[in-house]
């Protein structure tokens, strides 16, 4: 698998419409993510489709911008990711790298981009360090970050009445960071954390931890873990009738693709935060249906939609500056407000954080769902100002200077 991944890494995926006589600026966009592994369903090849759609919708060729898109598989390995980034920047003339799932790879690409003075717009990568201590003048973090997820689910759910929490935490750095951030949000919103249990990473049986969570009588069970740990926990919570008995499950890092993998029968009632869901407005529905037509009938995930709208915003900045000079383009991206069909109104802050509303969703029951992709109902909208970490709390060195 790795070898074929590397092959596809080298292969340029799409050459786009363009190259007309009036082209003045030529930009090359690189979509770098996990094409076949753990996060392939969250970003993967769908992100390339989204980037291509953005270029078409922007009518780049008519506006004098020639756009090439290349893509590669970083296999969730920071060394592979930073090697590809280096090669793209040095030899292949790539101007901007998009998406980059997996926090560790995103941080590596962040450093390469800073060194090469290019542009980096992560969408699938989640760590809030990208706009915190590791923030860079060349990085714009688009869709979500771990702080926003923890805060969104923690705060909004507590306000909805889920004011006592119990955590199932994966016993490593990522898990405890999620638990810490969410606990802070819960307490701040007036809720109470009744306890937590640390489970080993990649455990297969969660029933005894779930029983401890159940006997804590907490209203909400927060799942501070990811991937197969989360799906296992959700599956077994359904088996033990925990959600039916009145406690709700809150996934702190769950995407619509995970919910699809679990099925509504098992995932029903799960509460989670995302930046985007296909069935929100006419604009998102229209975009998603076009996307699905090009991508095996699959609706876009939030990080794929994020790639689409970040490409649009980047191209707007290129159009406005009539050049692709990284510093000017990023400055322009921070200057012009985001007015996006998919993510609503927002802006890019000094630390590189793109801010927009986030949403608290609940997974529908099979009875409520009207189609295979009808999976969420909106519980709350987290307004732009509250959705992301306040500018002065991230310890970003850029803040205050500009």
């Amino acid at each position: 698998m790795n070898r074929s991944g590397l092959l596809s890494a080298v292969a340029a995926v799409a050459l786009l419409a363009g190259g007309s006589a009036q082209a003045q600026v030529a930009v090359k966009i690189g979509v770098l993510n996990d094409m076949a592994g753990l996060y392939a369903d969250i970003s993967g090849p769908g992100s390339v489709v989204a980037a291509r759609m953005a270029v078409e919708d922007f009518k780049a060729a008519e506006k004098g911008i020639k756009v090439d898109i290349v893509s590669a598989d970083h296999q969730n390995k920071p060394d592979v990711g930073s090697n590809i980034a280096r090669q793209w920047y040095d030899q292949d003339g790539v101007d901007v790298i998009l998406d980059v799932t997996t926090s560790s790879v995103a941080l590596a690409v962040n450093e390469v981009t800073r060194e090469k003075k290019k542009v980096f717009i992560p969408s699938g990568g989640g760590t809030s360090d990208l706009t915190g201590e590791k923030c860079s003048p060349y990085t714009v973090h688009w869709t979500y970050d771990t702080w926003a997820l923890a805060n969104g689910t923690g705060t909004a759910l507590t306000r909805q009445g889920g004011n006592s929490w119990f955590f199932l935490t994966a016993d490593y750095a990522f898990g405890s960071a999620l638990e810490r951030d969410t606990s802070a949000a819960v307490t701040k919103a007036g809720g109470k954390v009744l306890g937590s249990v640390r489970h080993p990473l990649s455990g297969s049986d969660f029933s005894s931890f779930l029983l401890q969570a159940q006997s804590s009588k907490a209203k909400v069970i927060g799942l501070a873990n990811a991937g197969a740990d989360t799906t296992n926990a959700i599956k077994q919570a359904a088996e033990f009738g925990i959600t039916q008995a009145g406690q709700s499950l809150a996934g702190l890092l769950v995407f619509s693709s995970d919910v699809k993998a679990l099925g509504l029968q098992v995932a029903q009632g799960l509460v989670l935060t995302e930046a985007f869901y296909w069935d929100q407005t006419d604009a998102t529905r229209e975009f998603s249906k076009r996307f699905a037509a090009k991508f095996d009938g699959k609706m876009p995930t939030s990080s794929q939609a994020g790639v689409y709208s970040s490409v649009l915003h980047y191209l707007k900045a290129v159009e406005a500056t009539k050049a692709k000079d990284s510093e000017k383009v990023v400055a322009k991206m921070k200057e012009i407000p985001i007015d996006d069909a998919l993510f609503g109104k927002g802006s890019v802050r000094a630390d590189g954080r793109a801010i927009h509303p986030m949403y608290l969703f609940q997974v529908k029951t099979p009875a409520e769902s009207k189609g295979p992709w009808d999976i969420y109902k909106t519980l709350a909208t987290i307004p732009t100002e509250e959705a992301f970490r306040p500018l002065n709390e991230g310890n970003c060195p850029l803040v205050g200077k500009s």
Binding site: H199, S207, S208, Q212, N232, K235, F240, A261, G263, Q265
Partner: protein, 354 residues
């Protein structure tokens, strides 16, 4: 309601019961390993991958052929067991006989077929399966019509080779499934007859978990009975002790050995089908479990069938208790027990000293 060491007794009983359920998975998997090691002298590192295949075959039967859980319980072990037999015929047996030409024929034909198929642009996972099939056919033909070879009998190859061989196989199998199905996992529901649960007063016991314990105990007992108490089992055990002599009595020893490997693999697949409705069905599900199961086998005594079953259940209970008192250690406790047991009884609790 009374408490034990500060834990309410209800919670404690609940956890013990859960430990028993986990223990039944450990018991079934370690039973398969013990059968394969005890009778074939192979440390089967592909056991986790075969367990995963069991769960996936159940999912495939449901989604591609519309065959439900109960038939999968029968069919998946047979299909995966057949796969195990192919694995044994093409790789493990040639290695033990020191006659690896057959494996070379198989690998080289498969690689050539894969190159051609990739060139034709078939889906990679399907292409892989087809080329392996072509390789197997070529190897079988070679075996039949190629130069004859007389095995030297009861010479035992170092365990390490078998371990490395099966470990490599496990990586390949997992890679193919990961490539085809991704890692988010696939949904597989609990059969309707077993959904719901019983309120036992101190905990809610899902019916399915009760079924898992019962099924696993039944399978373990039957296996133990067949191997220790029947004539077939006596042949098997004799064939392991001295294959040349047993063959001289007219027993087809190579066939017996191959079928035993297939049976052990089938046990892993059966555990996989039982696990499919409650654990996430993903390509890595076996890799996560197999290390623990190996520890169980080592504690029980390598190759001891009764030992592996009893230790499986017992360690499930120990783990369940740890999850109550100190959950952080629940992944480690089995290995602590392993160290202690090996210090006191190097052959394991039920093993015979060599």
């Amino acid at each position: 309601m009374f408490t034990i060491f500060g834990i309410p007794s209800a919670a404690l009983f609940g956890q013990l019961l859960l430990g028993l359920i986990n223990g039944s998975f450990y018991a079934m998997l370690s039973l398969g390993l013990a059968v394969i090691f005890g009778l074939l002298n192979i440390i089967n590192f592909a056991h986790g991958a075969q367990y995963m295949m069991g769960a996936f075959v159940a999912w495939m039967l449901l989604n591609y052929a519309g065959i439900g859980y109960w038939w999968a319980l029968l069919l998946a072990p047979i299909l995966v067991g057949l796969f195990g037999i192919l694995l044994d015929r093409n790789f493990i047996k040639p290695m033990n006989d020191n006659n690896t030409k057959r494996s070379f024929v198989m690998v080289i034909t498969s690689v050539l077929a894969m190159v051609v198929i990739t060139y034709l642009g078939v889906n990679p996972s399907l292409g892989f399966a087809i080329s392996v099939g072509i390789g197997v056919v070529a190897a079988t033909l070679w075996d039949r019509f190629g130069p004859t070879f007389v095995a030297l009998g009861d010479q035992h190859v170092d365990h390490l080779y078998g371990l490395l061989l099966t470990f490599g196989m496990a990586l390949i199998i997992q890679g193919v499934f990961r490539n085809q199905y991704g890692v988010s996992g696939l949904p597989y529901g609990i059969p309707p007859q077993l959904s719901g649960g019983q309120n036992l007063g101190f905990m809610f016991l899902p019916n399915y978990r009760g079924w898992v314990v019962a099924a696993s105990m039944f399978v373990c007992l039957v296996t133990w009975f067949v191997i220790e108490k029947t004539k077939l089992g006596a042949y098997l055990r004799a064939a392991t002790e001295n294959p040349t002599l047993v063959q001289a009595f007219g027993v087809n020893v190579p066939l017996l050995i191959t079928l035993t490997y297939g049976f052990g693999v089938g046990l892993a697949a059966l555990a996989g089908v039982l696990a499919a409705p409650i654990y996430s069905v993903n390509p890595n599900m076996g890799a996560d479990l197999i290390i623990v199961v190996f520890a169980v086998v080592v504690i029980g005594g390598m190759g001891s069938i009764l030992g592996s079953v009893i230790t499986g259940f017992a360690l499930g209970l120990v783990e369940g208790l740890t999850k109550v008192f100190y959950p952080e250690a629940s992944a480690t406790v089995i290995f602590v027990v392993m160290v202690l047991v090996l210090l006191v009884k190097p052959a394991g609790l039920f093993g015979r000293a060599q």
